[in-house]
């Protein structure tokens, strides 16, 4: 499993470069153009990241979430779910930058190779910000009645989150 994970990226890079070479495009120029785009993207999310780190840190440092979830602690313990991951699981469908800020906090406190760190990594990668995407896509074409979209989207997220828990427990 870990070997397979290690081979994905080198293999991908080889395929991309080789295909570009075969199609006779200027691979180097394409890279530079893309990298410039990436720089602009990162700079454009900078304010959102600052805003979210600010809010998330105040919220997490207040320990409110533990106060709230303490009643659930026994239940979560039985399922082997660490309390620390709950803010991330709850906010995942709403804001990608908020969960990125939480993941950063988890890495600082517990390390990226801890059980929590790995779980957070898989969670962040496995689902998208469902509520945000629905709002953006539907508002772009003037849809007001979204029927069962949100329900199915959140159900898919939930399954992704549960799978992430099970996989982290089994594999690491």
């Amino acid at each position: 499993m870990s070997l397979l994970s290690k081979i994905v990226i080198p293999l991908f890079v080889v395929i991309v470069i080789f295909y570009g070479f075969k199609k006779k495009i200027n691979v180097y120029d394409s890279f530079l153009a893309g990298a410039k785009e990436g720089l602009n993207i990162t700079l454009s999310i900078f304010p959102a990241i600052m805003a979210m780190v600010f809010a998330i840190n105040i919220f997490l440092d207040s320990n409110f979430i533990y106060f709230l979830l303490n009643h659930l602690r026994g239940f979560l313990d039985i399922l082997n779910i660490p309390l620390e991951i709950m803010p991330m699981a709850l906010l995942r469908p709403v804001s990608g930058t908020a969960t990125l800020a939480i993941m950063n906090e988890i890495f600082i406190q517990y390390g990226s190779d801890s059980y929590l760190g790995r779980l957070a990594s898989i969670l962040q990668g496995c689902t998208d910000t469902t509520i945000y995407v629905l709002a953006l896509y539907y508002s772009s074409i003037g849809i007001k009645k979204t029927r069962y979209s949100l329900g199915v989207g959140l159900f898919a997220d939930l399954v992704g989150i549960i799978t992430a828990f099970i996989l982290t427990m089994l594999l690491f």
Binding site: S5, F107, K144
Partner: protein
């Protein structure tokens, strides 16, 4: 939406700390927050720049299109009510392909174009059609092969094997998409 969440997080955090006499921690938290945000951006910046560069090669060389054409035959089965030659299917394929490669910024324009095409064949213009919902389930379940930001942050926090989460991530995302599509399928059958 994000507006209210932001307000909620800050106000609840500060008021709760006031109530529990935890003011010192919150004070420090606010003061050191800025640097943490800056460090976070700095640690993800290099890898995002690097990967958007590599992905641009895939886009320019037509690899993205080729990838999309592989997915397309599958799509007509998932979207039975969309005519086979409708441009929406091509946009949906490109959107999924771009999402898979972690090209979020390239995926969104394709997705918006797909929605526009689906709207053209939608009989009720203010109500989501079934193919729109199926598309959004596919999109939000977000099949990502290379989660660049996660990798970047793991590297920044000295992970011994930062890429070890790739395969479990792919499996989780696959299960989530499959579950979403199945539920969507059953709802469609029941509504018929």
């Amino acid at each position: 939406m994000v507006n209210y969440i932001w307000i909620f997080l800050i106000l609840v955090g500060i008021f709760f700390s006031l109530l529990t006499g935890n003011l010192e921690t919150i004070n420090n938290s606010i003061l050191t927050n800025g640097k943490e945000g800056f460090d976070l951006i700095l640690s993800i910046l290099p890898i995002i720049v690097l990967w958007t560069g590599i992905m641009k090669i895939a886009e320019d060389s037509g690899l993205l299109k080729k990838f999309a054409s592989l997915v397309e035959p599958l799509l007509s089965r998932l979207f039975p009510s969309v005519p086979k030659n409708n441009p929406a299917l091509g946009y949906i394929a490109s959107n999924i392909a771009a999402n898979m490669l972690g090209l979020g910024s390239a995926a969104t324009p394709f997705g918006l174009k797909a929605m526009k095409e689906l709207q053209k064949i939608n009989p009720e213009k203010d109500t989501a059609s079934t193919p729109m919902i199926t598309f959004l389930v596919l999109n939000t379940a977000g099949v990502t092969i290379i989660p660049t930001t996660v990798l970047a942050l793991r590297i920044a926090h000295n992970s011994i094997n930062p890429s070890e989460i790739i395969i479990p991530g792919v499996i989780a995302t696959f299960c989530s998409s499959l579950a979403g599509l199945l539920l969507d399928y059953f709802i469609r059958r029941k509504n018929k």
